[in-house]
């Protein structure tokens, strides 16, 4: 069995998770400090990819970075090609997975006890130190949970990915697009093998999420003593 789809899926999911991790934290932190009205509007925009059909996201991305679009032409000038390449898969997965990271991290930031930041400031700690050494560690569970969910979503991405990068064996094929392709070509056994692989990865991810939540609950209990 050609394991290219596994490797491709994992690298797309891994890279897009890292991108989404930082963008999501940045957006979440920024949004948690905005006035309520602006926050609500921004929230709708940033969460949209979660509720839109992935194919619509993919269509939108094609409109944006397609070979004949201004941004696509500009990127081509820079030597970046996102249509029908695995790098495009990273873009598609990032867009679709972003809301999960953003929303989970935002929840964690909003639950953060602001008096800790105030205490840090009055002790003379700089705002950067407070962000990385106090705020982020306190929100760690929520942020990790968000990252895991984003990774899982990126790994399972199909709609936007197939719109943007299609299915080229050995070049853009992911697990999700491979399962569809094999089923379509009546290779049920092959599809089943990839389904099994996918199930195994998903199970690991979900177990990890549950363990994180359990750890958080124990922590909460210990703190509430």
């Amino acid at each position: 069995m050609d394991i290219f789809p596994l490797i491709n899926s994992l690298r797309i999911a891994a890279i897009s998770s890292v991108i989404v991790f930082f963008l999501g934290i940045g957006a979440a932190y920024g949004a948690s400090r905005l006035p309520r009205g602006i926050k609500a509007a921004l929230d709708v925009v940033l969460t949209l990819p979660l509720v839109l059909p992935p194919t619509v996201c993919g269509f939108g991305l094609l409109l944006l970075v397609g070979a004949k679009r201004p941004l696509g032409i500009l990127l081509a000038e820079l030597g970046v090609k996102l249509v029908m390449t695995w790098q495009g898969g990273v873009l598609a997965a990032s867009v679709v997975a972003f809301p999960l990271m953003y929303r989970t991290a935002r929840g964690a930031f909003e639950a953060f006890d602001e008096t800790l930041a105030h205490a840090g400031q009055t002790l003379g700690l700089g705002n950067t130190y407070i962000f990385w050494r106090i705020r982020l560690p306190a929100c760690r569970q929520g942020i990790i949970a968000g990252a895991v969910l984003a990774f899982a979503r990126a790994l399972g991405e199909y709609g936007a990915t197939s719109m943007l990068i299609g299915y080229i064996p050995g070049r853009t094929a992911t697990i999700a697009t491979t399962v569809y392709q094999l089923w379509r070509t009546n290779d049920e056994a092959g599809a089943m093998a990839w389904v099994a692989v996918n199930l195994a990865i998903s199970a690991v991810v979900l177990v990890a999420v549950n363990m994180l939540e359990e750890a958080q609950r124990r922590r909460g209990k210990a703190a509430g003593r």
């Binding site: 008096t115 800790l116 105030h118 205490a119 002790l123 306190a138």
Partner: protein
Amino acid sequence: MSLEVKIKKRLGAFLLDAEFETGGGVTGLLGESGCGKSMTLKCIAGVERPDEGRIVLDGEVLFDSARGIDVPPQKRGVGYLFQSGALFPNMTVERNILCGLRGERDAAVRRRLYGEAVRMMRLEGLEKKKPRELSGGQAQRAALARIWVSRPRVLLLDEPFSALDAHLSEQIQVELSELLRGFGRDALLVTHSRDEAYRLCGHIAVMHGGRVIAAKETRALFDDPGSVAAARITGCKNIAPARRIGAHEVEVPDWGVRLMCAKETGEGLCAVGVRAHDFAPGEAANRRRVVFAGAVEEPFAWIVRFRFEGQDEASPALWWRLPKGAGRGVFPDELGVAAEDVLLLYGEGCG
């Protein structure tokens, strides 16, 4: 320390409009919850920004909206002790305290201050513990150690006892007031408890509805709160509308009596107050016949409720606090109250 505060901040429908000055020692900011006292403290610390106004600490302008001055909290030199201690949960006690020393470059000084703080706040053996493993009192001491090493000019205490159990709280108050003396810093204490304020503060500013309605030396405030709101927050149980009828006499329609008072009545007098423990059967002044209306037993006192003879049954009964062992266990026919214990109340909170 000298602190001058004159700030305004709008929070939805609530308007904080605080103005007061303090001298040295421990000053209390006393008020019911939601009166704006914590917000005032946060504005002084610089973690909240007033809409307008001026804050001056020891001659240094920390905030002045007119001149565009807003010194960041890191540079204000204020130590802020929060209700819960606000220790950083991901760090040990030791690392928490060291956070207060990050501005200190000299390692020898860092070590010395750290050691002194641990000894002074009796944290030996707790240094490697995480905040969640500490008791409420230990957490407060660790927080105080962390503030002490950062050597603030002034200490801001935000309800530091209210998260503790009642019996612990009293013990820790006594302990903490000693530690504060050892701290050698002036302090501003925010509290809703008149007992705490009385015990710890030399001066008290009373806040009500976002404004400072009285600022006095502690004894003077309790002796003469001056307004209905201040009388209530300092624990006066018997307050009723009143009318001045002479230079030293008031009429209290709800109680159906006229009372003599030591202080001269002024224009705008709207109510009188009598503290529950100021009634006495042996007091000759303002002696009136009274009718028993009920009693509640406390560990060391009786709270007796009574009405004056002829007082309307519909109007609320008065409170008389009688320490156990003081009375003969028989309700007296008459109670009096010294003329200087009749509190004359004006302005704020009338009507």
